[in-house]
């Protein structure tokens, strides 16, 4: 028996055989187990060869895009200018809040006894915290500069606190923004 050639089998498997070849293959395959086996092998080889096991690494698209269409980067001056407004706003808010909390006079609120006791315990704990912070600041600053008034100490603490908070919030927001843009 003359078996099918490999080309005939491949054309048959690909569905690319002309009508005559197609008929010839079908007729032969009906009676030849060996060629049937070969067709089976080729079909399965094709099926497996069609699977793509490759993928680019995670940030591939991002890397290409930064090369072809870089995001308009903020210059340092615009960054600082943008942040100055934030710094002042935040400092103002924190300053007012801090002043309100630290000056006990503004806590003379008439209200329910629960509220008074709550506010009293809050004020007490704040005072304790303030004292310990002041103590630590004194320990630290006494070596650097002469003892300053408690007002300016408070200001320094608030300013530092405001700046740190601001930095954290700003970084977080910037990250979220850049994430959503990509």
């Amino acid at each position: 028996m003359t078996h099918l050639t490999m080309s005939q089998i491949l054309h048959f498997v690909d569905g690319a055989a002309d009508y005559a070849t197609q008929a010839q293959c079908t007729n032969h395959l009906a009676v030849c187990e060996r060629c049937r086996k070969e067709v089976e092998i080729q079909k399965n080889l094709s099926k497996s060869a069609r699977k793509n096991p490759y993928a680019t690494s995670l940030r591939f698209t991002e890397r290409v895009m930064t090369r072809v269409a870089p995001q308009p980067g903020f210059s340092w001056t615009t960054k600082i200018l943008n942040n100055v407004a934030n710094v002042f706003a935040m400092m103002l808010v924190l300053g007012v809040l801090g002043y309100a909390i630290s000056s006990t006079s503004s806590f003379k609120l008439e209200g329910s006894p629960e509220f008074s006791s709550l506010s009293k315990s809050f004020t007490d704990s704040y005072t304790k915290l303030k004292e310990s912070v002041q103590q630590r600041t004194n320990d630290l600053t006494v070596k650097v500069q002469p003892v300053s008034s408690s007002r300016s100490q408070r200001f320094v603490i608030f300013a530092l606190f405001a700046l740190i908070t601001l930095g954290v919030v700003d970084r977080f927001l910037l990250r979220q923004l850049t994430k959503t843009k990509l």
């Binding site: 490999m6 070969e38 080889l45 690494s57 090369r67």
Partner: protein, 195 residues
């Protein structure tokens, strides 16, 4: 022609450059298969691919829609990889190709074939491994045919090889792959019998 590609390209050409990311996402993984199988190295392949995407972006205004974007793009990938290969000194894109064989089955055909469980992951694994072992001249044509699902004519356009060479290489690649995979399978069966 791929309508989605067409729309994205129109956007990019109209100035919406960031839309190009969609094209990159759509084609990167399949293109990666071609690059890895030509360069035989994941890192080199990714670098070549990045280069190809950047070149394609810059050449996009000159793209004339004579072919699909993917055929045009894969020509760039193919060329970038071929250049990388020639820099490495391993360019053998013009190998000695004989006539398309009309031979019947190879040597292995007379060996009693084991009953193969083609559904096994092991079989797929073996096929992938053996494709990777093929010389890049064969692996590239095979990949364009199976992964990029290109016709002979599209492979000709991509590789700029003559039609006869493409047909011949694909035929050889498939017979080489068959023989290599069957050899491995027979080996597996032999080991199982011993164990």
């Amino acid at each position: 022609m791929n309508d989605l590609d067409f729309q994205v390209i129109q956007k990019v050409l109209a100035g919406e450059k960031r839309a190009y990311a969609q094209l990159v996402d759509r084609h990167k993984d399949k293109a990666m298969a071609l690059a890895v199988r030509m360069l035989k190295n994941h890192q080199d392949a990714e670098e070549a691919l990045q280069d190809a995407f950047i070149r394609a972006f810059n050449a996009l205004p000159r793209f004339e829609w004579k072919s699909s974007f993917s055929t045009w793009f894969y020509r760039i990938v193919y060329n970038v990889c071929a250049t990388a290969l020639s820099k490495k000194g391993s360019a053998q894109l013009l190998s000695l190709d004989g006539e398309e064989g009309n031979e019947t089955f190879g040597l292995l055909s007379d060996i009693e074939l084991p009953d193969i469980e083609f559904e096994l992951d092991e079989f797929r694994q073996i096929v992938q491994e053996e494709i990777n072992k093929l010389p890049h001249t064969y692996a590239s044509v095979l990949t364009l045919f199976f992964i990029q699902e290109m016709s002979y004519e599209e492979i000709v356009e991509t590789s700029e090889l003559p039609l006869g060479t493409v047909k011949n290489r694909l035929f050889r690649a498939r017979t080489m792959l068959r023989d290599a995979v069957l050899k491995r399978l027979i080996e597996v069966v032999r080991k199982e019998k011993v164990a």
